[in-house]
Each structure stands twice: as C-alpha cells, then as structure tokens.
Subunit: 173 residues, 3 copies
Amino acid sequence: MKELVLGGTRSGKSGYAEAQALSLSVSRWVYVATAQAGDDEMAARIQHHREQRDARWQTVEAPQALGDCLRRLDAPDTCILVDCLTLWLSNCLGDEAQRWAEEREALLAAVDDSRATLIFVSNEVGSGIVPLGALSRRFADEAGRLHQALAERCDRVMLVVAGLPLTLKDKKS
Amino acid sequence: MKELVLGGTRSGKSGYAEAQALSLSVSRWVYVATAQAGDDEMAARIQHHREQRDARWQTVEAPQALGDCLRRLDAPDTCILVDCLTLWLSNCLGDEAQRWAEEREALLAAVDDSRATLIFVSNEVGSGIVPLGALSRRFADEAGRLHQALAERCDRVMLVVAGLPLTLKDKKS
Amino acid sequence: MKELVLGGTRSGKSGYAEAQALSLSVSRWVYVATAQAGDDEMAARIQHHREQRDARWQTVEAPQALGDCLRRLDAPDTCILVDCLTLWLSNCLGDEAQRWAEEREALLAAVDDSRATLIFVSNEVGSGIVPLGALSRRFADEAGRLHQALAERCDRVMLVVAGLPLTLKDKKS
C-alpha cells in the first residue's frame, strides 16, 4: 500500500499520516525525517515534532538521498512514513542543477520497487499567488510535478484540511 | 450547531456562511465583524461588506477579545456568525507575545460553553509557498492550528471554492 | 456544456482539461492560449505546453479580448478550451483601470451566449498568505470573483489536486 497525504501548513497532515501508519498491522514503523536544522526556528520545530511522536517510531534522518534511504529500509512488514517531501525538495533544489533530477528519479524508482507500506506527507504549496522569485516558482513547479508523479503510483491520495481528510483517490472504492 | 467555513480569498465563504445562517429558524442573527479599518482599502472592504448584508443582521465589532464577545452574545435562540477568524488572528499576533495564546484559549472555552448556533468564517492561508518572514510563518502556523482546534469542536466543516461548498465534516451524515 | 477546471500550480489541471475535451464527440477542438511570452521563462513554458498537445488541437492566441475571441470561434460542434484565465487576468490588470471590468463583462456575456462546449482552466491563487502588494491583493480578489461568476454559469466545476479531479459541481449528479 502506498499513500500520499497532502495538506497546507499546519493542516494536520502529519498527525493524520502518523495515526494512519500506527493503525496498520506491521511489525516495524520507520519515520523518515527530511528536515535539516538550518536555524533555531527549524531546530525547535524538529524537536517539537520528535517529542510528539509515539514510542513505536524509529526515526531516520534523510535530508537528501531519499531514494537510497527507502531502499535500505525496504522490507515487506515495515511501514515507512516520509515527512515531508517539500522539505526534501528544498534541500535538493538549492544544489547544482542536476541534483534534483537525479534525486527525483531515484525516489520514483525506489517507490516502484518497494515492498514496504509507504506513506508520504507533502505540503500543498501551489494554491497561493505565484511568487515572483525564480527559485520559488521552480519550487512550486517541481512540488506540483512530484505530487502528480507520486499520486499516479499511490493507491490512496488524501488532502487534509483543518485536520480532516478528503479522499482524492482510493483504489479500493 | 457549530460550523466552520474555510475558503481562500474571494472564495464565496462569507456569502455561503450568511445564507447558511439566514436559513436557520432562530430569532436573532448577530454578525461579529473582526475587521479593523487600518487603511483606506480595508475601510472600503468593510463598508462594501456591510452594505451587502441582509437587514436581519445586527452587527457587532470585535477586532479583539472575541471570546468575551461570544459570551456576552450567547443565547440559545441566537445565531452568531464570526467573519473572519484570520483577521482577528492578525489583530492579536501583532501585540505582545502572550496576547494570542490568551485570546485563543478564551475563544475555544467560549465555544465549548456556547448555547448559540455558531458559524465561523476563516481564510485558508496555508496552501501557498511558505513565506520568508517570521511573522507570516507564525501567522500561517497559528491559523492552521486554530482551524484544527475549531474543526474538532464543530459539527460541520466546509471548504468553499468558487462559491461552491465542499463538505469536510458533517456529523449528521 | 460549460466546465471550469481549477487547480494550483502544476496540479495537472491542464492535462485533465485536455483529456476531458478530447473525450467529447465534437468535430473541432480549439485551444485558446492566453499566455504572453514576456520573458524567456514564459516563452519556454509556452513552447513546452504546445509540444505536449495532441495534433487535433487548433491553437489560437488571446492574451486579451477573450470575450471577442470566444464569439468569433463560437459554433455548436466545437469545443473551446481556454488555458488559463489567471494569465488573461494578469494581462488585463496591468493596463488602465477600466480595462479589466470591460474584459470581464465581455467574457461573461460571451459565455452566456455561447453554443460551443467551453472548458476554462484557471489557477487557484487565493489559498496562501494574502500578499502585501496592492496589485497582488487585487489579483487574488479579482481571480476569486471571476471564479465565482463562472462557477455559477458552468454545469461542472472541478478542483484538480495532484492530477486528481475533485467534483465541486456537477449538474447531472
């Protein structure tokens, strides 16, 4: 089972995804954190999130090389929750031009080959005014393209608004 | 009955909420306006909204101290429409650090104790690019947290897009 | 049949709208492009989109005077896809004050009189932080108002997220 959980800032998407993961009957839960503590505000956010998490989670940090990380953790009886894709995207876009294209292809290939249950959390960033800066525009473009590519590969796609999940895709239904 | 109506800029959320309120069989309709006319553009918006409203509405202004305002107006046969929460949030966030935390707790407690029909209108602000400024980020964070806290307490939560309501939660259904 | 397709940046709204149009049994498909190649980035986007499109499409450029364009193309057995309304809005808002009001009224009147199948693609721009600049605020306001006015006139209104369509309105259902 593969699930993509989209939502805006503080929409409750992470809480929904964690509850969803812990409701599964697997033997191992891995939380893949993509955040990098670049400044104090971000360090505080990371710490806050870690303290809120259930004890069953094993935490792995993967600010980059996310596809490799998923391959290393891959196992049939495991649930891997990646939170979140947009942080990973911003970690990769800053670097040289080819970096993001390679990271993206590696992730999609790892998703295609995966035997684990995968849950991806990502920020909806494309529904505001299109930003003036070229990097922000590229960020919104790449996030949207990535969401489409993953949504195609996922069995379920949810949009979380105010903590409430809206079903965009559910293969069972 | 408690309802939260979310939507982007000019999504038709206020029009939907007003129609919803006026369809109820109560004896009194109170419109709680949180806008503050800080500049000419905002003064024109407030005036425009006031002129559009049905004559049944009694208007009360509450740029701050919203919880107290709800308690004063509370009565079983009354519909109170608050438009909108994000303006109230921006009125409170500018002040000293404790102000918002107190305002927020006072509102949630007033909601818990209320006997009136409450309809809250609020702006979806977290689905664009995360802004660079610390205040804008805090604004988006606090708006998202508030929406989650209220959505938990509400019987109905709607997302309005292009004037069309999408049901996120409906206790009856 | 008239349809409005909303969605954020790279949400897959154009792809959905094109597939929707080509599934119709009409004899002519006209793609009305509102983009203006003001800089290299935009020129590359326009070229990229054009190369992706099916050979059945006839392309017409209408950065302004969109209502007139729809009237010229109008015919019962034709599907006209306009992509996208927010680019047209930004082409018109920069000009003198009356321009947008006239453009808007001409479009809505052409929609009311149309015998063709019309599909409009437009960007959801109002769900992020309200921008500080007066022009950006007016842009978000006018986009929201336009979406409401068109949604009223359309038989179907869809919101596309991650390539997946969510039904906001469907007269048949």
